[in-house]
């Protein structure tokens, strides 16, 4: 196996590890840092893929990833938690060890699901698609188990990271126009949610979504 593909495998494994780390992290500040590291890993892996396969458009998408997910979004999120003064995700809805076990089950499922796909892929990074799928589902799990609005958003963003990784690892990236559109949506989404946090806080005096009792769930 070539060194570059070994390196990509390593980065993929790190992404998987980060997904688990985010699942188990209770502090929001550390959660955002983990998200930054995830974005960084993603950008590095994109650059590695770009340089080994000579896909020049991947350099742009690496740049896009870097600026959006390592610089802009974490900056917005850090600002938000400073202004909202939220540090801790008080308690997760399911305790962490059980979440981890569910996470392992998810990884097994997604690896099995990805097996037929990775057999077909011709890219040097084909074996990582299972990891990408696992990252997506683990972020989904994180969104389900968290009660704080901001952690749910970070879960959402890390799910997008997983999707991005899936796109680069299976197909060397989507067409540029689609990638730009996705990035725009994510950015706008986070901005809207930022406004949202303040409104939620104003009305509920907390960012804990448990206070969002279901309005007559009948």
């Amino acid at each position: 196996m070539a060194l570059s593909s070994q390196f990509i495998n390593l980065l993929a494994s790190i992404l998987l590890l980060l997904a688990f780390a985010m699942l188990s992290q209770r502090r929001i500040r550390s959660l955002i840092r983990l998200f930054m590291v995830q974005g960084m890993t993603l950008a590095v892996s994109t650059v590695v893929i770009a340089s080994t396969t000579n896909q020049s458009h991947l350099y742009y998408s690496a740049l896009l990833t870097f600026s959006l997910k390592v610089v802009i979004l974490p900056w917005i999120l850090f600002r938000m938690i400073r202004q909202l003064n939220v540090e801790w995700d008080v308690e997760t809805l399911i305790n962490i060890p059980s979440t981890m076990l569910v996470g392992i089950a998810i990884v097994i499922v997604s690896f099995n699901l990805a097996l037929p796909i990775s057999h077909l892929a011709g890219t040097i990074t084909r074996s990582t698609i299972g990891i990408a799928m696992a990252c997506v589902l683990l972020s989904l799990l994180m969104m389900i188990t968290r009660s704080k609005a901001i952690s749910q958003v970070i879960g959402f963003l890390s799910m997008e990271n997983g999707l991005f990784f899936a796109a680069t690892s299976t197909t060397y990236g989507m067409p540029m126009v689609v990638e730009l559109g996705v990035a725009l949506d994510v950015l706008v989404g986070v901005l809207i949610l930022g406004v949202f946090f303040f409104q939620i806080r104003e009305k509920f005096e907390s960012l804990d979504l448990k206070h969002l009792e279901k309005a007559e769930e009948e």
Binding site: M1, L3, Q6, F7, N9, L10, A12, S13, I14, L16, L17, F20, S24, I96, P97, M100, G103, I104, V107, I108, F111, A114, S118, S127, T128, G130, I131
Partner: protein, 315 residues
Amino acid sequence: MSAFGFFAQFLQLFLTVLLAPLLLGWVNQCRAWLQNRQGPGIEQPYRKLRKLFRKDAVIAENASPLFRIVPYILFGAMCLAAAIVPSLATDLGFSEAADAIALVGVFALARIFISLAAMDIGTAFGSMGARREMLVGFLAEPALLMVLFTASLISQSTSLTVIVETLAHRHFGIYPSMAFTGIAFLMVLLAENARIPVDNPASHLELTMIHEAMTLEYSARHLALVEWASSIKLFAYVTMGIALFAPWGIAQAADWLGMAFALPILIGKLLVAGCGLAVIETVMAKQRIFRAPEFMGTAFLFGVLGMLVHFLLGA
């Protein structure tokens, strides 16, 4: 059993039993240096053993025969474990019996006996220590098995000899699965040998201790054997780590010359490993006992991830 195998086995067992306290002494010495202390010197464990062997044993009145036998069982089990982990050569006399699952079984056997002995007297500390030991062990064992299974998957065999031979001949590269299992193994090693994030070997603070609580009732030669056994256990774990994650330089079948090189290489690796262990123990703080399940859970997670990543990436 070939002559080489017999010789290698004998040499390895002999060295292990003799060198084990030295490794412990080296770790403690390194730790002392890191903490800006002078340290008692690396031969301190030997002095302690000699002192204990000279003393007269005192045994509680209500102790059953089991209590007396356990130190010998413990010592024997650890010697067996150390004998089947290939550290000097892969072609050992016991290599037929050197199975990864058997190794975990031997450790479990020792754990059961020491816990039984701890509860035998019926003191509160003994029972508490036994309970905690079982808790940690029950969590550490699956993690250790995951580590060994990943290695077995790579080599398609649970025989330690085959595993180490395969790993030693593996093409040099980045193996994320081995990195994950390596971390898992390190965490298991710390927990199983009562090292710092889980237990503090230097403390007799009753609220936190695990291993020490179980051996409180032992004295003299019994205590010496127990202590010696635990240093052999540490040695066995460290050599197992070396065999799995840095097997280069181990002697292959009937290679007398390789054997001659293997010993200094092994000692070099042990020195580095002991140093690393001391660094870890210095930079980390003892966790609350209630965090131990989380710690072991993380180790298990790493082990499982290593295995899954191996399945998926084939690396």
